[in-house]
Every structure is written in C-alpha cells, then in structure tokens.
Symmetry: C2
Subunit: 414 residues, 2 copies
C-alpha cells in the first residue's frame, strides 16, 4: 500500500475533562492520527472499534504491517486512492479515552500520582468519546465535519455524533452497528469481563507493576469476542473440523484428554490470535471499553431512537452485513426506520457477506464503494443502495429535502 | 407432577471396561434410573445432555424439585400420562461414563487407589457411552430397545445407537442434535475448557482434596454454554436490557466501573445459574464430556453420514427448533437427508420456537406429541411432520417398506 501523505501523529494534552459519570481527570491526553490536507470542509472523523487504535491507515515510514486492529486496521478502505481517499479528505482518528494506545486510560500514567491510573480512571461512555473527539478536533482547528464513519462500537460512536453534535456533521456512516447491544451481546461481554476479573493476576485491576497481568482471563475474553465477530459459514470455510498441524501447540495448561483428541485448526487459530491480542491490549481497557459499549443506547435522554435523531441536520448511511449475528441487519434497519421517521435523509445499504461482523474489516471491496459515493453525493450516491427502495408504501428519502443540506465536499471522482 | 411407579434407582458395577482410547478401568460403575414396567418389548433408552443426569422424571418420594438438568430434567415429557408414558414404556436413563452423577468419571473413586480418578480417568467418547449403555441394558435383561431418544449431545448418543447397534433399536429420536459440531461450537467449547484449565484452582485436574476447585473457570465455561442454549429472541423477551433489582449482587470480583453501570438482569440470571451449576457439576467432567461431544462425528468409520446409517433397520425421527443456533434446523435436515439416502424411514419434524437450543427442555407441548406418536406409529405417527412432505421431487418415505419393520410396541393411546 502506498504511504499516505501529510500524516500527523501526536498525543495532545487537552486539559481537564469531566466524564459523564461526574469524575474528572486533570489533564486528558488524546492520541490521534490525521491523514491528508485539511481544506476547511473536508474533515472526516473515523471512529475505531472496541480494540482498534488511531492508526487507521499504514504509515509509509513505519514499516509496520497490519496487526489485528492495532495498526492500519482499515488500510484497504482509507488511504490515497482508496474509497476514503486521503487525497480528497482530511481523515482524523482519535484513540478513545479508556483505551490503551496512547490516550488517557487505565494503563496510562496519572499525572497526579506518576503511577498508572489503573481502576482509578473514571468509567467512560461513548458520549465521553464523542466529546473528547470534539475537543481534539477543536485543537486541530476543525469545526464542522464533512463526515463521521465508524464500524462496530465505532459505528455507535459515529451515531452518537448525530445526537451530541447534530449541527457539526454533514454525513454519518455507522457500519455494522446498532442503536444498542442486545441482551445476547450484553451477556457475552459480561462473561468476558468475568473471565478477566476472576483471573487472580488481575489483582483488582492493580497489575501494572506485577510480573504479569491477567493474560489468561484476557485471552478467554478475547476468544469469546472473536467467535462473535465470525460467522458459522466463515468458520466452516476457514477451519472446518480439521486438526491443526503437528507443530501446533497449546500455549496454556490443558487436560490430559487433550493428547487423545485433535487440537483443531479453529482452536489453534483462536489461541494464536489471543496470544497476539494480549500483547497489544490492556485488560482494564477491555473492561472499560466493553462497559461503554454495553451502556450505549441511542435512545438515552430522548426516550426513542427517532427522538434522539430529530435534531440531526445531515444525512445517514447505515451499512450492515447479512452474516453478522453480533450487530444484525435488523438492528441497522431499526436505526434506519427511526431516522426515516424523523425525516433524516437515510440509506441502509445491506452487504451480502458471510464474513460475520468482521466483514466491515475484511470486505473492503463491498464496504468502500458505498462509503466513497455517500461521502461525495450523500444518499444519492451511485453505489449507495437502500432497503426502502422498492417498497412502494414507504416514502423515498434518497433525495435530501431541497435547501436542507448544502452540497459541500469533494466532488465525486470515479 | 404425579410420581412415577416402579422406579429403579441404582449404581451397577459392570466390571472391566475398555474405552475407545484403548485405556480401561477395572470396574465401570454405571448409575441409572428406570421407570415403568418392562414387558419385553417396551424399553426406551433416554440419553441425557451434556450436564444432565439419569434422573429424567421426578421421583414421587424425593420431594426434589427440578434443578437445572440434574434432577427431573424431562419431567414434562416423561412420566405417567406424559408423552413418553411410563405407564406404557419401560424408560431407562444411564449417567454416561465421564460424568459426575454416580457413574465412573473423574470425581468418582478409583477402586484401584481409593482416591478420585481425576484426570487419570480415560478420555471418553460418545461411542463409549453407547457401549456402556448396552452393557447396563444387558444387566437389566433388556435386549432390543423399542426406542432411543435424546436431546443435544444426548441426541448424538441416540444417533450413535443406530450406528453401533443398528439391529438393537427400532426407533431413534435425536432431538436438537447434529451429525457433528460445527467449528463455531467447537470453538466455544474450547474456550470454555480453557477457562477451566487456566483457573489456578483447577490444579492440573487434581483439586478434589483442595479447599476449592476451579469454580470461577467452570462458571465462565457454563455461562458460555448457557448463552449458546438461548436465542436472541428469548433473551430479548426474558431480560431485555433491564437492570436487576437492588438486591442483586455479583458473586465475584468486579471492576470499579461496575458501580457506575447497571448490573443487568441478563447478567444476574447467568451469574445465578452459574452459582447453581458449580454446586452440581464437576469441572473435570465438563472437560471430559465436551471433549466427547466435540469428537462425535456420525460419519466416522464410514466416510459419510449415509454410510454410517446404512445398516440401521429402524425408523428415525429428527426434531429440530427454528430458534436453535447451537444445533440448527439445517444440521438436522442434513442428517435426515443422509438417512433418506440410505432408505431409512425418516421424518424431520421442525418445531417453530424462539427458545433456542433449550427448546427441547422447555417446549414439552411441542416436543411431546411427535415423540408420543412416533413411539407408537413410527414416521406414520399422527403428530409427526416431515420436511420432505410437500416436496414432489423427493420420494416420500413416511411409510416403512413392507416387511422391513415389525409393528411392535405399545399401541397408540390418544
């Protein structure tokens, strides 16, 4: 992949910050990256997913490859000549507070004590992320955004922009997201957290000076999540019931019967991925960020999803995936229906994919074009489809109401 | 519920037993219960699920209520006047080797040492269960079975009877089962095992004399399983996103942010169920039995599912549930297709239910009638439906081939 031009990569101290819970930190630090040239009306905020970082696209000078969602996690979608073209747009991504890629969070140093915050760090919410992103954008001189785009809980973050700062963003693109987690996902997140907090090496969250943290609990938590992101079909195709090669070895204690039964490819894959994950992610951050995700509810403060979106003056593109059982097509459709109810120009673009929730990361050829065309032309964009098309009984909202939206932003380049 | 008559409840020593792995125990002990009167041709073997016990129906004298799958787990289906009527049938259920309800398994005493077997117990397979059941039935004087019925991995056990002892059973009813686990289920079982074996209190499986076993790991394992048994719809209806009452308290260490966010009903329910579960189930047994389930493959030894069923002379009723994402309708249909290929009189009865995998336990009104009528009249039973009905291109196999099956067994009583 070609390196992006004009990269900014920095950590900004933005001063005191009060979280939704009422607690504050004296100096919030926000790690971010920005790509492309800011022209005044071309800023696009990208919101990362649960374990993602601010490194959306590959950096030319780093030589770093893709590593889970830690590095260049959307390099096939964002970059020069890509669908989210950094030759056209000024793309900014901020590591959310509570995470562990340089922004303030449990593993970061508390300037008041010189020690890691640990669980003294205030609980965070998606709204806190949105407000922190607003502060950072102010620092960068970005007022109104052309667009906010994000996948998974990053899509919730994007949706929250339409609620928290309805006048500040023209186009919002939640990808593989939902108005709120369903109880099945709430349950699995809770089990994942329990795996972490009952690992004796978690030590009540105070493990930063210990020899090791709760790597086993975090591994189990990650593996639960990982299965949620895949689909039965993609796992069937990728692994089947095949045994792993002779060299594959479990990295943790196993029962004696393990020597009689095969160590399967699917286990070996998940174990390998968990090993990589615990190297790059902090256990407390996992607790904090899943709490924020579980807590998110589009309708909070407004009673209904439509009420929450009522003040939004921009356009909305929802993208969902047929094989996603974590954030389903139906959940995106419910958001689309609420947005249509409140006259927001809306398109719900359903991608046929058996890749599960991970499709937003691994199907750039299907995700890129509708994003590209929506950024350029809104819901009228050529590659943008809508579930409401073909339904005679439902008003077609593909064309924005006259005078309601300025047609600003880079022109469409095929 | 009315007590059943003529209950036998015993543990039999059946002598030396060699397992499929090649290892043996000097004296296999099998705990079983039997209900009703044996008339020579009315024996029905019930196979319990992963964490089930031999106590299928409530015992009149015990005063015990239902407790998970430990006690009276199919009391709404099996009993006097129930669909599997113990007034008609002699119903036997055997606790499978490797389990923990009285049969030989990791927590049972090894007669050679006087100590618990622990992980010295040989690895077990579903075939070992089938062979042990055969031995126990011989002890009870039961030759040919009228039927074998089982749910979940008990359905795999039932299916295995058609392969291991094809002449010994007239009617086989796998409920909510499959020819083999798909990689998604394999993955979740592996994560569950990892949660147990990485709990320091597991101590390599040698925890029976310690103050406590791996209750935290087993809790997480159970919760992963529990979510697999429910459906999104049933969880939505049962819990939504509601917060649990003020009295609800987590029973394990939690992160500090837990005090800011609600403890939800779905979490409280799963935590409560896990607490009950660790009281009744052994962690090593969980490892052993999930290994057996993961290992099960109908086609093993034969190459194809149809090949495995080729020698079966009886009739087959598969029951599946629309809301079951653990063992799907499609997986039961694949077994039905294989059975039809090999001329086994087969019906695949699909139950519309949003209860997920648990439907086989909690939908007695939908599960009972097809079982009752299939036991009486085979695939021609009145309440038995078949997915092949209405498909003009597929030969209808609802009527057994003339002379192929004796019409033995208790007459149908509406």
């Amino acid at each position: 992949m070609a390196p992006v031009t004009a990269v900014e990569r920095d950590v900004r101290s933005v001063g005191a910050f009060e979280f939704a819970c009422g607690e504050s930190v004296s100096d919030l630090r926000l790690a971010y990256e920005a790509y492309g040239e800011f022209t005044g009306d071309n800023a696009v905020l990208v919101c990362h997913a649960l374990t993602g970082s601010q490194n959306v696209a590959p950096l030319g000078d780093s030589g770093e490859g893709q590593a889970g969602q830690a590095r260049a996690w959307w390099g096939d979608v964002v970059g020069p000549g890509k669908s989210l073209d950094t030759g056209d747009y000024y793309v900014v991504c901020v590591n959310v507070p509570g995470s562990c890629y340089g922004s303030s969070g449990p593993p970061a140093t508390n300037p008041a004590t010189g020690d890691p915050y640990g669980t003294d760090f205030p609980p965070v919410t998606v709204r806190d992320w949105t407000r922190a992103q607003r502060v950072l954008l102010d620092e960068l001189g970005v007022g109104r955004l052309h667009a906010v785009v994000g996948g998974s809980v990053g899509g919730m973050n994007a949706l929250d922009w339409a609620v928290a700062f309805p006048d500040d963003v023209r186009r919002v693109i939640p990808v593989a997201a939902a108005a709120r987690l369903d109880p099945q996902c709430l349950a699995l997140d809770a089990v994942a957290r329990r795996a972490i907090t009952t690992d004796p090496d978690w030590r009540g969250g105070d493990y930063y000076r210990a020899d090791d943290g709760p790597t086993e609990g975090l591994s189990v938590a990650r593996q639960i999540g990982h299965v949620m992101y895949l689909s039965k079909d993609s796992m069937d195709r990728k692994f089947g019931r095949r045994a792993a090669g002779r060299d594959a070895q479990m990295s943790f204690p196993a029962d004696r019967t393990a020597s009689y039964f095969p160590y399967r490819e699917v286990e070996s894959y998940l174990d390998y991925q968990a090993e990589r994950f615990v190297e790059r992610f902090d256990a407390n951050a996992y607790l904090y960020l899943t709490r924020a995700m579980d807590d998110y509810d589009l309708s909070a403060e407004y009673g209904t999803d439509a009420g929450a979106l009522a003040a939004f003056e921009g356009e909305l593109l929802l993208i969902s995936f047929t094989g996603d059982w974590h954030f389903t097509v139906e959940e995106s459709e419910a958001v689309a229906a609420a947005a249509r109810d409140t006259e927001v120009p809306t398109a719900h673009h359903v991608v046929s994919s058996d890749h599960g929730h991970d499709a937003f990361l691994v199907e750039p050829g299907k995700v890129g074009p509708p994003i590209r065309d929506f950024l350029a032309d809104g819901v009228a964009g050529r590659a943008v489809t809508d579930t409401a098309d073909g339904d005679e009984n439902r008003p077609r909202r593909r064309q924005p109401a006259a005078g309601r939206l300025e047609r600003i932003g880079p022109r469409y380049r095929p």
